[in-house]
């Protein structure tokens, strides 16, 4: 019967072509609007590190107090003082402080111009914590951290550019005139959102090309290439800045289970209490500990444009469905004589349901195909609304194609329930009289 009803559905498309075209367009546009905006929402609300998102935590410590903080929330970044205290306490299984740095790589070939690359200063634990894949070698160890060693990890792309893709582990890298020993070459690593630093990137940026030790970056007096927020003047010079209340460091702790996380939160509270006793904080401990997805949420990684446009698109789809309910009702009720005859000839109600729902599914399928084409156009046009860093993430992949068709068919069938119910209520007797 499935095939029979599908065939009847296709045939029925040709009847009332205007009505059918209206429905298909309504469904197509509604689904395309939803799917296009969803493709952005999906990219921006993606879990970038699903296997570890529940064990990686970003702590926050309120060093500004109720007068300067953001409606009671601690600053999104940390001071050097607090970050170093957490590093020294070493209460987490793995931990890293990190900040973006503006450095340039100078090619050995003097004819080539220096290149500026997205770079971060991190601790050696970061590579394991963030599951960074390696093509050659690996990250550095805590010994190099402690030694403030001149070592570096570079990306596959940079390795391609500088060493033509050869294994460059152990070779020297010239960064701003200083020589670094390469300990590892990362394989392609492009987490989206850029979960470890949404504060400085809004969550989306090109892949990181160079990592150097945090301790080394501080030795070189490197400033952050990201945000530096101060509630009062930092004082003069680098040293004063390090010991100021300016916040500019991101911190991550790997805490394997709930208990470890609870314990860490207590530790943070204890640390803040100690700062209060010592007179640095003149307020009660105010700390936060967020896992990756919570942190993405706190940092509002999904742009409001994405949420609003998804919302509007869903409203749009809803209207298209209400529209489809009306048009299907008209289409089906025009055929009440056919329904009466079928019922008289022995069709039980469920067969009427099956026939008309299948017919709707057929309309939904055709609407879905139109929707797919429009979604393709929509995805191409996303760059008009969103930053290129975000727009590049929205793709029409197999999953989205299937979802588009499923939503189109599902929504149409849903819209068809009421009209089909009305169709199934048509009494066989009505149509016996002359028509």
């Amino acid at each position: 019967m499935f095939a029979y009803y599908f065939q009847l559905g296709l045939r029925s498309l040709r009847r009332n072509p205007m009505l059918t075209a209206l429905m298909i367009m309504a469904i197509g546009f509604g689904v395309a609007a939803s799917m296009t905006t969803y493709s952005v929402f999906r990219a921006t609300s993606n879990n970038p590190i699903p296997q570890k998102s529940s064990v990686l935590f970003a702590p926050q410590i309120d060093n500004w107090g109720p007068e300067d903080n953001d409606k009671g929330e601690p600053p999104s970044a940390m001071t050097y003082t607090d970050a170093m205290a957490l590093i020294r306490a070493h209460k987490a299984k793995r931990q890293t402080a990190l900040y973006p740095i503006a450095i340039s790589v100078v090619p050995d070939d003097a004819n080539k111009l220096p290149v500026m690359e997205n770079s971060y200063a991190v601790y050696g634990d970061a590579f394991t914590m963030f599951d960074i894949p390696f093509l050659y070698g690996g990250g550095w160890t805590s010994n190099e951290d402690d030694a403030h060693a001149a070592v570096a990890v570079i990306s596959r792309a940079l390795n391609e550019k500088l060493f033509n893709g050869a294994n460059s582990v152990g070779r020297a890298l010239n960064i701003d005139g200083h020589s670094y020993k390469i300990t590892g070459v990362m394989d392609t690593w492009d987490p989206q959102p850029l979960f470890f630093d949404p504060v400085n990137t809004s969550g989306f940026d090109d892949p990181t090309q160079v990592f150097i030790p945090f301790t080394r970056a501080i030795d070189l007096n490197l400033l952050t290439a990201g945000n530096n927020n101060c509630n009062k003047s930092a004082g003069d010079g680098y040293e004063a800045w390090l010991h100021s209340e300016c916040v500019w460091i991101e911190f991550w702790a790997e805490l394997p289970d709930r208990a470890a996380a609870d314990e860490y939160k207590q530790f943070l509270t204890g640390y803040a209490a100690e700062q209060q006793r010592s007179g640095r904080f003149r307020w009660a401990p105010n700390v936060r500990l967020s896992d990756v997805m919570t942190w993405m949420d706190v940092q509002k990684v999904v742009p409001p444009e994405s949420k609003i446009s998804l919302l509007v698109a869903l409203g749009f789809l809803l209207i298209c469905l209400v529209n489809t309910v009306g048009l299907l009702l008209a289409k089906f009720m025009r055929r009440s004589s056919e329904i009466g005859v079928r019922r008289a000839l022995g069709a039980p109600r469920r067969e009427i349901y099956a026939q008309f729902l299948m017919e709707s599914a057929t309309i939904g399928l055709v609407g879905g195909v139109l929707g797919l084409v429009l979604t393709g156009v929509g995805v191409l046009c996303i760059g008009l609304v969103f930053e290129p860093d975000i727009a590049r993430l929205a793709r029409l992949d197999v999953k989205l194609v299937l979802l588009t068709l499923m939503v189109a068919i599902g929504a149409t069938v849903l819209a068809a329930f009421y009209p089909t119910w009305r169709a199934a209520q048509v009494q066989p007797a009505w149509q016996l009289k002359s028509n």
Binding site: V341, A344, L345, A347, R349, E351, Q427, Q431, L432, N435
Partner: protein, 237 residues
């Protein structure tokens, strides 16, 4: 085959109750050809829709093929309609979207029949009514008589035991009406039970037995003077 005892059908609106059938009794034997006659509004069609399980009734009993049908649910009633009853409507009631072949196929589809058997039966039925060559035509491309023959083929294809016809020739000219009537007689000779509603006395006369309905009740021909007078006026016999 078909037995109604003390059957009643009441239409209720907010203000009035109207009896369409009242203490209605009829017994049609297997293999009979019965013509039901009566004036407009007498309840002929109501009787036929109840007989065909297209409508429910208010009181009394209705046995179809020895089964009391008032307690059957919609599905069971659909199944009986599909397997035991064939319908021929005055307005043909072909589905305009479907061609002749597909129209005849409709009741067979609901029976879950295999495609090959379906095809065989459809072609046989169309052969019977002389329209095998028009299988791919759409109803709108056929004359009224041809459409009614397709409707009969549709009724026959399922080999129903009971054929219900509602003014089958009402929309046809004399020539076509005769052809359709001959077809019904032929089907009857092959063993089908036929109940036909008509107000055409000529047509009624060709049935084995006439049942007259007035004001929702079956009237015994012998005892009702009104019938006699009507009969003598209308029938030249």
């Amino acid at each position: 085959m078909l037995k109604m005892t003390h059957l009643s059908k009441v239409y209720r609106t907010e203000v009035v109750e109207t009896y369409a059938l009242r203490d209605f009794n009829i017994n049609v034997q297997e293999g009979e050809f019965v013509a039901v006659t009566g004036p407009s509004g007498s309840g002929k069609t109501t009787f036929l829709t109840i007989a065909g399980l297209l409508e429910t009734f208010t009181g009394g009993e209705y046995h179809l093929d020895s089964v009391e049908v008032s307690r059957l649910d919609d599905n069971a009633r659909s199944k009986i309609r599909n397997e035991k009853i064939g319908f021929i409507f005055q307005a043909f009631n072909l589905i305009p979207d479907l061609n002749v072949f597909d129209n005849v196929e409709v009741p067979l589809r609901y029976r879950g029949m295999k495609s090959a058997e379906r095809k065989q039966r459809i072609m046989d039925a169309l052969e019977r009514v002389g329209l095998a060559s028009r299988a791919k035509h759409y109803p709108a491309e056929l004359s009224g008589g041809q459409q009614q023959r397709v409707a009969i083929a549709r009724a026959l294809a399922g080999s129903p035991r009971l054929l219900l016809a509602d003014e089958p020739t009402g929309n046809l000219d004399t020539q076509m009406a005769r052809g359709v009537m001959e077809l019904l007689e032929e089907i009857h000779r092959e063993g089908a039970t036929i109940v036909m509603v008509t107000h055409d006395p000529e047509l009624a006369a060709r049935a084995q037995r006439n049942v007259h309905i007035i004001d929702g009740q079956v009237v015994d021909l012998a005892e009702d003077p009104r019938f006699h007078s009507q009969h003598t006026v209308r029938s030249p016999a």
